[in-house]
């Protein structure tokens, strides 16, 4: 049978549509996800409409079991409250839901990611005289520490975004925690997956390094290595990322982000 829903789209791998589709596919077998603003919003919405209708959405604003009727323009958008299973105070959300260990997957963005999946969302440059002031931690420290695993989506892939050394470590990998105090190492894995405009990087070992697991169409392993700030490892088997389908792109453009807030 010809399956029209499997026709592939030609949106470029650097597009928000491509990144959101790749991110959504990571959620096929996940249960409860802590979703942030931006591409994660698109990814969780798309996943619920395609591969995982039962995905349980939790937002740091306190919303659990969100069932948004329209795309959230922010994590405190009223569309997240309408029809949600619960709205908790932040003390309960961060203390009991997140730190208490109820989140399977955290979705994070970052200015910089290092080889172990430590994240910088604070500053570029020096702390006292920053070249760029980034948003800071927000809940990122807590999400990376307490979710079972985290997926990071980057809008760029170059040695500044994936450097040998972070300008500042906002949210540490288990490797960094271990370097400080082995007894303080979290139960969770830290960053498991980094999705970029060039590749999907995976970190199969809790104390291991990111490696190139998938390259997007038109990109070679060497391209990815050249764009990474450290000599990045290559997985035993590297696959080519499957393109988004025409239907996934249509859902994103015509039903999810109709105002093109995050699709930019």
């Amino acid at each position: 049978m010809t399956d029209a829903s499997r026709v592939l789209s030609d949106v470029p791998p650097s597009s928000a549509e491509f990144l959101a589709c790749v991110a959504a596919r990571q959620l096929a077998d996940k249960h409860r996800v802590f979703a942030g603003v931006g591409l994660p919003t698109l990814a969780v919405d798309l996943a619920r409409r395609t591969i995982n209708p039962d995905l349980d959405l939790v937002y740091e604003s306190g919303v659990c079991g969100a069932a948004p009727g329209a795309m959230a323009e922010g994590i405190a958008d009223s569309v997240l409250v309408s029809g949600a299973a619960a709205v908790l105070p932040m003390a309960a959300l961060f203390g009991y839901v997140l730190q208490g260990g109820h989140i399977d997957v955290g979705f994070l963005g970052a200015g910089q990611v290092d080889r172990y999946g430590s994240l910088n969302t604070s500053i570029i440059g020096d702390w006292k005289t920053p070249a760029v002031r980034l948003p800071g931690s927000g809940g990122a420290v807590e999400v990376l520490r307490n979710a079972r695993e985290c997926i990071v989506v980057l809008r760029r892939h170059d040695p500044d975004a994936l450097p040998l050394e972070l300008d500042f470590c906002t949210s540490p990998s288990p490797v960094r925690v271990c370097a400080e105090d082995v007894r303080m190492v979290p139960a969770g894995h830290g960053v498991s997956t980094v999705i970029t405009p060039l590749a999907v990087l995976r970190r199969p070992e809790k104390f291991g390094e990111l490696e190139i697991a998938q390259v997007h169409p038109g990109t070679s392993v060497n391209d990815v290595r050249a764009a990474t700030g450290w000599p990045i490892r290559v997985a035993a088997t590297v696959t080519e990322t499957e393109r988004p389908t025409v239907e996934e792109v249509r859902l994103l453009r015509e039903e999810i982000d109709v105002v093109r807030l995050y699709l930019r």
Partner: protein, 314 residues
């Protein structure tokens, strides 16, 4: 029977917000107390320590107006929450003045308010091991677990001189009811010495008592109740009005140019003596579009319910 705490906004602010005070303005994307912040700007308060988990347009405006010398925060909003060029000018270039920033993570701020509210000397949390944040914030300290577990980071109590929040409604005694996203407002209120609450509606005591779970801040913790409809615009108040997303988008251009920011403050704050005047300037058409349908669906339904009829709800 009990004394009314209802004050007008200028009186509440002049009485409880003094120069140099530590002031928490909380409201996480919802119920943001913009009207009260504008009154602080009109009264030209100086040297404030502003506590706000997510400094947003409200912080950009207070800082732009010269009210703030120190910021205690955990996330510098951007994107759909509005770009904050005034804060960036201060932090990146000390332009026109430097801004002291004390930075935590979200849960760190929540824990600080919890410690302040409960009278605790500190509050432990599992965050910060391996992070560079404690190196730039010496108030985040690592302590031994007295029960033999791993070491743990603690944060100090946050005890604002005054906490200011906005809510759907309160009675005259100061029982404050809010619903939807309630953020950290209860903790921030209990942590403070004084509490000012602006509300969409002042209601009779039986309305509060019909739904007591909605009281997030009881009267015993509230000093001033201010009737201030529309007081959270451009943020939203669930069941009253929706977020003015266009306003947030417009802020980016205003904030980018300091002269435009000052002109905005002059027109919308200094020359608009109160929230009614501000809403007037917004224009009735725009304001009407933002106002949601008939208010509190659930509480008014519960008020109407005949107690002798067996309830059909689970």
């Amino acid at each position: 029977m009990t004394s009314s705490k209802v004050l007008d906004l200028p009186t509440a602010v002049s009485r409880y917000v003094t120069d140099g005070a530590t002031v928490a303005f909380e409201g996480f994307g919802h119920l943001i107390p913009f009207a009260a912040a504008h009154e602080v700007i009109r009264q030209r308060r100086r040297g404030l320590t502003l506590c706000r988990m997510t400094p947003d347009l409200l912080a950009d405006q207070l800082i732009g107006a010269g009210c703030v010398s120190r910021l205690v925060a955990s996330y510098f909003a951007s994107g759909s929450a509005g770009a904050l060029y005034e804060i960036r000018r201060r932090v990146e270039n000390a332009d026109p003045d430097p801004l002291d920033v004390e930075e935590y993570s979200h849960y760190g701020m929540v824990c600080r308010y919890q410690a302040g509210a409960a009278g605790l000397p500190f509050f432990p949390l599992l965050s910060y091991a391996g992070s560079d944040i404690p190196a730039v914030n010496p108030d985040i300290k690592k302590v031994a677990d007295p029960y033999g577990g791993p070491a743990i980071y603690v944060v100090p109590p946050l005890r604002p001189d005054v906490t200011i929040v906005h809510a759907q409604r309160a009675d005259r005694d100061g029982n404050v009811q809010m619903w939807g996203i309630v953020g950290v407002q209860q903790e921030a209120a209990y942590a403070a010495r004084r509490v000012i609450v602006t509300v969409e509606e002042i209601v009779e005591d039986p309305v509060v008592r019909s739904a007591p779970n909605r009281t997030m801040i009881p009267a015993h913790k509230v000093d001033a109740v201010v009737h201030c409809p529309g007081g959270a615009h451009p943020s939203y108040v669930l069941d009253y009005y929706v977020r003015d997303n266009a306003f947030y988008r417009e802020w980016t251009a205003i904030s980018r140019d300091r002269r435009q920011l000052l002109a905005w403050l002059d027109h919308w704050v200094d020359r608009a003596p109160d929230r009614a005047a501000y809403l007037d300037r917004l224009g009735p058409a725009r304001w009407q579009r933002l106002k949601a349908g008939p208010v509190p669906i659930e509480p008014s339904a519960s008020l109407r319910r005949d107690v002798s009829t067996p309830g059909g709800e689970g």
